[in-house]
């Protein structure tokens, strides 16, 4: 029988979780995401079913992990994969309908030789400021006053009308002038107002105190699915092509606003057919693996050697040395990386100046790669040093003594006794370090930005990792293209997944040593 207190805690936790889900669901409902609300509801019911009953005890242990795995691992992967079949990116963020609305709204031009009006937003007297039809009270530059309604412009008799010094009407019989706050609350209605005029234009507000006569030059023919811009002579016709509105007569001309659409596997076929991308991808992949392996190896060897040195009982002042050696690890990595960048400068850097050499560290592919490895060695060895020190101290002294008694020299002891025991402890950490360095975005980005870039191809840098390459595709470069970057990310994901399979096997083998 469960103790009452435990039962109470259990129910408090269940209720708290359900309340959390309810809160998330209301937020999702506000955002209008019906599907997500349904899923949140199902999850809530599932939690209740699992924890409130005794039906499935194993699930009680598995559910939290499963939920988080779906939320933080599976969902991003699926989302990225679904994004990779679209052209989502700069100029292709919204729907086709939105692009039409936007293009038409942006094509409104002031009709030449028309007056600017001073304007107040008002409603018929006695109306509700929130819902009543809006009218514009207008003053021409000559001082004559008008009322603008959806039906058209009609004169406003000057009797009883009060104006500010600049001519803005503050009071008119039969109308209630809205305050700035009230008028602003109706921004949507205001932007839709166009008081029709005789020449086909419309009087539209600019802010809250001015109005101009404007006319949209672009019209949309829904039946033919074509946009016509009457602003040019002869009018230009635009038809949809490649998720953009392209001039029918001259394919080089198009509206900048395109739309998001599904393009199937086009992004993937581009990765495999575009020769620049394909060869670049391969060279980046090779360097990426080399970088991760070399980083782990160099940092581990240096860290281990120093740890062995400081593990010697005869050495004095170990505490001080050890604290000093941890310093590079304690400093923020991105500060260190920038400092190293300065030190690698060919003309002004301390490295070339001290050694009296003129190596173009950051300007040649080999130099940049060496610079990256050196910097990463500096950044990474203290970690290995700490880990190895800990592991070495856990190796009992009598094991070494036994080896010495058996006649093994220092090297033999290290190779046959200490190393295997050490690797059991640090093996998984080396794998983690490999995974970390495989995606070591910050270092590359701060040190070389992926460069130097060779020849006429600035999309692929010689020190790029896959992650910096994908980042450049997605967020900078010529035109941010999330869809294509998502496709590259999916490929990276598959590669990393494939590579980690042998890694996990190896970890299992190490565990069996214990």
């Amino acid at each position: 029988m469960t103790k009452p207190i435990a039962l109470a805690i259990k129910w408090v936790l269940i209720v708290a979780t359900l309340a959390g889900i309810l809160w998330i669901a209301t937020r999702l409902a506000q955002a209008g995401n019906t599907m997500a609300v349904v899923i949140a509801g199902l999850v809530g019911m599932g939690i209740l079913a699992v924890y409130a009953t005794r039906r499935s005890v194993p699930l009680k242990y598995l559910v939290p992990g499963l939920l988080f795995m779906i939320l933080f691992q599976l969902w991003p992967v699926l989302y990225t994969a679904s994004l990779s079949t679209t052209n989502y990116g700069d100029g292709h963020l919204y729907s086709k309908q939105e692009s039409v609305t936007d293009i038409i709204a942006q094509s409104v031009r002031e009709v030449p030789d028309t007056p600017r009006y001073k304007m107040s937003v008002a409603i018929a007297e006695g109306g509700d400021p929130v819902t009543a039809d809006l009218v514009l009270l207008l003053t021409k530059p000559d001082g004559s006053t008008y009322v603008g309604e959806t039906t058209g412009l009609k004169p406003l008799p000057p009797a009883g009308v009060e104006k500010t010094s600049i001519g803005k009407i503050t009071k008119a019989p039969g109308y209630t002038v809205l305050t700035a706050k009230q008028a602003n609350a109706r921004s949507k209605d205001l932007s839709a107002i166009a008081v029709p005029t005789s020449d086909g234009g419309g009087i539209k507000p600019v802010g809250l105190s001015e109005a101009f006569e404007g006319k949209a030059t672009v019209t949309y023919d829904a039946a033919a699915d074509k946009l016509t811009d009457a602003g040019t002579t002869p009018p230009t016709v635009y038809a949809p092509k490649d998720a953009k509105w392209v001039n029918v007569a001259d394919a080089t001309q198009s509206f900048p606003q395109g739309w998001k659409e599904n393009i199937g596997l086009a992004n993937y076929s581009r990765i495999f057919t575009d020769s620049t991308i394909r060869s670049g991808f391969l060279s980046i992949f090779i360097w990426n693996i080399a970088f991760a392996i070399l980083s782990v190896l160099t940092t581990f060897l240096l860290g281990m050697l120093i740890a062995l040195l400081f593990n010697d009982p005869r050495l004095r002042g170990k505490a001080i040395y050890r604290s000093l050696l941890i310093l590079p690890y304690a400093l923020p990595g991105f500060v260190t990386a920038l400092v190293w960048k300065g030190m690698f400068n060919q003309d002004y850097g301390i490295i070339n100046q001290t050694l009296n050499i003129s190596v173009d560290w950051l300007g040649t592919p080999a130099g940049a790669k060496a610079a990256i490895l050196i910097t990463n060695l500096w950044l990474g060895f203290p970690y290995m040093f700490i880990v190895c020190t800990g592991a070495l101290q856990s190796i009992p002294q009598d094991v070494r003594e036994a080896a010495t008694i058996d006649g093994a020299n220092a090297f033999r002891t290290l190779r046959s006794i200490i190393m295997p025991l050490l690797l059991v402890a640090v093996g998984p950490l080396l794998l983690a370090s490999f995974a970390f360095n495989f995606n070591n975005f910050g270092l590359i980005y701060l040190l070389t930005k992926g460069g130097p870039f060779n020849g006429a191809d600035t999309s692929i840098g010689s020190s790029d990792l896959l992650i910096t390459y994908a980042f450049r595709l997605a967020f900078s470069g010529s035109a941010p293209n999330y869809g294509f970057a998502a496709a590259v990310s999916v490929i990276i994901f598959l590669l990393v997944a494939l590579m980690s399979i042998p890694g996990f096997r190896r970890t299992k083998a190490l565990e069996e040593v214990n």
Binding site: E110, V206, Y445
Partner: protein, 440 residues
């Protein structure tokens, strides 16, 4: 490893910012520092909301007008936002955004963007492309009060999208203690500089931001010094034509040859970048620096007796003509408070006192003629910067410009480093730019 993993996350954030700053925008990122301290915050009632870290600000749903700006300008904007709030009986919030360009785009996409942003004019094409900004219809008599080039810069496809408040461009800064009179030509500059280096009074002839990946913004004036040189041809209506890339016309190549020659003479070097270009000038290691208003505060602090002059002219061509950058106020196309946003931008920003207050925080020449005249009368630096940019043309604000920064910048870096000849390298850059534009 945990600590570094967290660090990596932070770095990614920082990097994202740095990246978008270097990617497409004008290199105005290092600007404003130092000058911010001079802003007058005395009468502000509210204080701008400071973000924690570099994340985008969170929009406050209960406010009638939300403005995003960078930290330096926030105090000045806040002061007039408060005035506007009091006058109209509404609440206005000024929020600091660390990377307005990217954060505005992303926040607007999910319906959480601000109503008004402050930014550079060369964002315009990208913002229009992504349907994030609304037209702002200034009346012609108000528009006439601004410098014509500033108004021109706020237009895209003939539509006007905001109100400018400042112009900026690069010029030649020189150390008056070493060089009493600024050189008129590049040959003269090199001769003077080399003489000083020989005499041991300087270590380097000139400091100019080149870097290993190149800098298109600083390299452009070498091309524009020749009549047909530049990046895009101009359409009959005055817009830049994305279909006519001219970085490899014979005249542009002449400019490339100058870069190659200066690289050979070590006047220009890929080892000079944003991290050391100011330091070289401020430690008097070089008598000349090509830079913008953002470098003045540091030079002043270092006690350099500096002068500002127009960029020199090149042999066989004319004067180097820099890009003009225009700082402006945009209204979001998805603004929740469109009416107030339009009202604020069209009625407040064209005011002289607002333009003067914004001048104080950036020290860039005001875009309003009246405000410029007042400032220029008392501040010789502003006058000098303005005159250095008088022949410049606005930086292209078409989205295609995003395809230019990388390839063209790298080409100039390679030419300066002597990795490739000017013609060969600029031809290749033109090809890459054209291909990128076609892809975009």
């Amino acid at each position: 490893m945990h600590k570094r993993a967290l660090g990596a996350a932070a770095v990614t954030g920082v990097a994202a910012l740095a990246l978008s700053a270097c990617g497409g925008s004008s290199p105005t990122t290092p600007s404003d520092t130092g000058a911010a301290g001079t802003s007058k915050a005395a009468t502000t009632t509210g204080t701008p909301e400071t973000p924690s870290g570099t994340a985008a600000p969170v929009r406050d749903a209960n406010v009638d007008l939300v403005i995003w700006t960078d930290a330096d300008r926030s105090a000045a904007v806040q002061k007039y936002a408060d005035q506007f709030a009091a006058e109209n009986g509404v609440t206005v919030k000024v929020q600091i955004s660390t990377d307005t360009r990217a954060q505005f785009k992303d926040a607007t996409k999910v319906g959480k963007g601000p109503d008004v942003i402050v930014g550079a004019h060369d964002w315009l094409g990208e913002l229009v492309q992504n349907s994030t900004v609304a037209p702002v219809n200034l009346s012609s008599d108000v528009a006439a009060k601004f410098l014509p080039k500033a108004i021109e810069a706020t237009k895209f496809n003939g539509q006007s999208y905001g109100v400018p408040y400042a112009v900026e461009n690069i010029g030649l800064m020189y150390n008056k203690d070493l060089v009493p009179n600024p050189p008129k030509t590049m040959d003269e500059l090199v001769a003077t500089g080399e003489k000083l280096v020989k005499e041991g009074k300087a270590k380097q002839v000139l400091s100019q931001f080149v870097s290993k990946v190149g800098n298109a913004y600083f390299a452009y004036p070498y091309l524009s010094a020749f009549p047909e040189g530049g990046i895009f041809a101009i359409k009959p209506n005055g817009d830049y034509d994305p279909n006519k890339v001219i970085v490899n016309t014979p005249d542009s190549i002449k400019g490339g040859d100058v870069l190659a020659e200066l690289g050979k003479k070590k006047v220009l070097s890929t080892n000079v970048d944003d991290t050391n270009q100011d330091a070289l000038f401020d430690t008097k290691a070089t008598p000349f620096m090509i830079s913008g208003p953002w470098s003045v505060a540091k030079a002043k602090e270092a006690g350099v007796n500096y002068g500002i002059a127009p960029l020199p002219s090149l042999t066989g061509g004319g004067a180097m003509r820099p890009f003009l950058g225009v700082q402006m106020f945009y209204v979001s196309s998805k603004a929740k408070n469109a009416a107030l946003a339009q009202e604020f931008v069209t009625n407040y920003i064209p005011r002289k006192d607002v333009q003067l207050a914004l001048f104080e925080v950036g020290k860039r020449p005001p875009a309003l003629k009246e405000a410029y005249a007042e400032v220029a009368a008392s501040d010789p630096d502003v006058k000098a910067w303005y005159e250095a940019g008088i022949d410049g043309s606005p930086m292209p604000n078409i989205p295609a410009m995003n395809s230019v920064w990388g390839p063209f910048g790298q080409a100039t870096a390679d030419i300066i480093a002597g990795k490739a000849g000017a013609k060969e390298r600029l031809d290749a850059a033109a090809k890459e730019i054209t291909a990128n534009i076609a892809k975009g």
